[in-house]
């Protein structure tokens, strides 16, 4: 399992939602649209839950601990998926890292 960071951040970095995204739940899908670029994203499954957890800025260990607790699994088990998912959100400018770290 890969648990290294692709996004320029580390375990101490604080992840925040990027500005300008409109969101709405439809059934179990979280639909997102960037108000300026008109770019759509759809977060399903635990992806939507991660977005909800990001309502309050948090670190990767915070996210992993919260998800592990909710799904009754070990934090290290969810970590690779969380990192891969954050990578996708970062690429699509849906999250920012505070402070940014140069890769």
């Amino acid at each position: 399992m890969n648990s290294r960071y692709y996004v320029p951040m580390n375990d101490n970095s604080v992840i925040v939602r990027a500005d300008g995204w409109l969101t709405a739940w439809i059934d179990n899908d979280l639909m997102m649209m960037h108000a300026e670029s008109n770019f759509y994203l759809n977060l399903s499954g635990s992806g939507g839950r991660i977005w909800e957890l990001l309502e309050h800025p948090c670190t990767v260990p915070d996210l992993c601990n919260a998800l592990a607790s909710e799904f009754d699994i070990q934090p290290e088990t969810v970590r690779p998926e969380v990192l891969a998912f954050l990578d996708q959100l970062f690429l699509r400018k849906a999250i920012d890292v505070d402070p940014p770290i140069l890769a």
């Binding site: 409109l22 709405a24 739940w25 439809i26 059934d27 179990n28 899908d29 639909m31 649209m33 108000a35 008109n38 759809n42 399903s44």
Partner: protein, 315 residues
């Protein structure tokens, strides 16, 4: 000296018009809101380049349909100016007025224009949506001929302001049909035809269903059916969830590109998510033969606990 027609009712608006609009119903005091709309003949502003769609600095919208007419939607006033072109076919002009112009008016007035036809079943609006040629008007006609009030055809004006309870503002009880459907329903004598020669692309007919009750007040939306084309041999519906429901509605936003050009991306997103999260969206598959239209009408009546109102008038 010029004639003025109206007042008519269109999506709850009180309409006065220089052009006779025989498809619209007469204004009634029972309509709950009273926004006016004036439709007048006049000259369009000279904007230099001829464009099919333009937004001016004042946020007025200009639509031009070569060979038919130009339309000027005034942002600051409740007014549409029509500039006819030479020997414009009045039915063709009305067809654009009831389609693209109505869609832009919906966007400007905070309504969601969904491409589709709608009939009243069991007190609620059932919307038949889908791309042009997918059979919306034909299916709506089959249901209207069974006595279910026709609410609109082409543009479904949906109000999503009340959370969880989208409402449809009826436009008018008329359908636009092509030759094969007109022949199937034996509506020939009741139709008003476009001037284009029979058998050509621009040939169509319009008819109003005065035999069914005219509904002018907003009605709750019960469901949206996306008509699949090409379709299967069975008549069946399948519920679309989440992003699939969203994408179906997004693809059928009437002239969605115009809404986006008006800078209303956010408004469109909110409308679509509000609708998809509060009413079921189905994909409707059915054989595309007029002889089996009854089976689809039966499915919709059964699904919405309704039945034919007019005995012996099945399509």
């Amino acid at each position: 000296m010029s004639l003025q027609f109206g007042p008519y009712v269109l999506c709850g608006w009180k309409v006065f018009s220089d052009m006779e609009l025989p498809e619209l119903s007469a204004w009634s005091a029972t309509v709950p809101k009273e926004q006016t709309l004036r439709i007048q003949f006049g000259a369009l502003p000279d904007t230099g380049e001829i464009s099919h769609f333009a937004v001016t600095e004042e946020e007025d919208v200009l639509l031009r349909v070569p060979g038919v007419a130009g339309f000027h939607l005034h942002a600051a006033e409740h007014r549409v100016t029509i500039q006819m072109e030479g020997s414009s076919d009045p039915l063709l002009v009305r067809n654009f007025l009831y389609g693209s112009v109505l869609a832009v008016l919906c966007y400007k007035r905070g309504l969601f224009p969904l491409h589709g036809a709608s009939v009243l079943l069991n007190g609620s609006a059932v919307i038949l949506s889908g791309p042009s040629g997918s059979g919306k008007s034909t299916l709506a006609t089959a249901l209207a001929r069974r006595g279910h009030p026709l609410l609109c055809d082409d543009v479904c004006a949906i109000d999503t302001k009340v959370p969880g309870r989208p409402l449809l503002w009826p436009a008018f009880p008329r359908v636009k049909l092509l030759a094969d459907a007109i022949s199937n329903f034996e509506l020939g004598a009741a139709m008003t035809y476009s001037r284009a020669a029979s058998g050509t692309k621009g040939h169509f007919g319009m008819t109003a269903f005065s035999s069914t009750a005219v509904v002018s007040c907003p009605v709750p939306v019960a469901a949206v059916y996306a008509l699949e084309s090409p379709s299967g041999d069975k008549v069946e519906r399948s519920l679309q969830k989440g992003k699939d429901a969203f994408l179906l509605l997004d693809s059928q936003a009437h002239r969605g590109w115009m809404g986006r050009n008006l800078g209303l991306h956010g408004q469109l997103f909110r409308h679509i998510t509000a609708l998809a999260s509060s009413v079921p969206v189905y994909l409707l598959r059915r054989p595309r033969v007029l002889e089996r239209l009854d089976e689809t009408a039966n499915l919709l009546e059964t699904a919405h606990h309704d039945q034919p109102v007019i005995a012996g008038s099945k399509s």
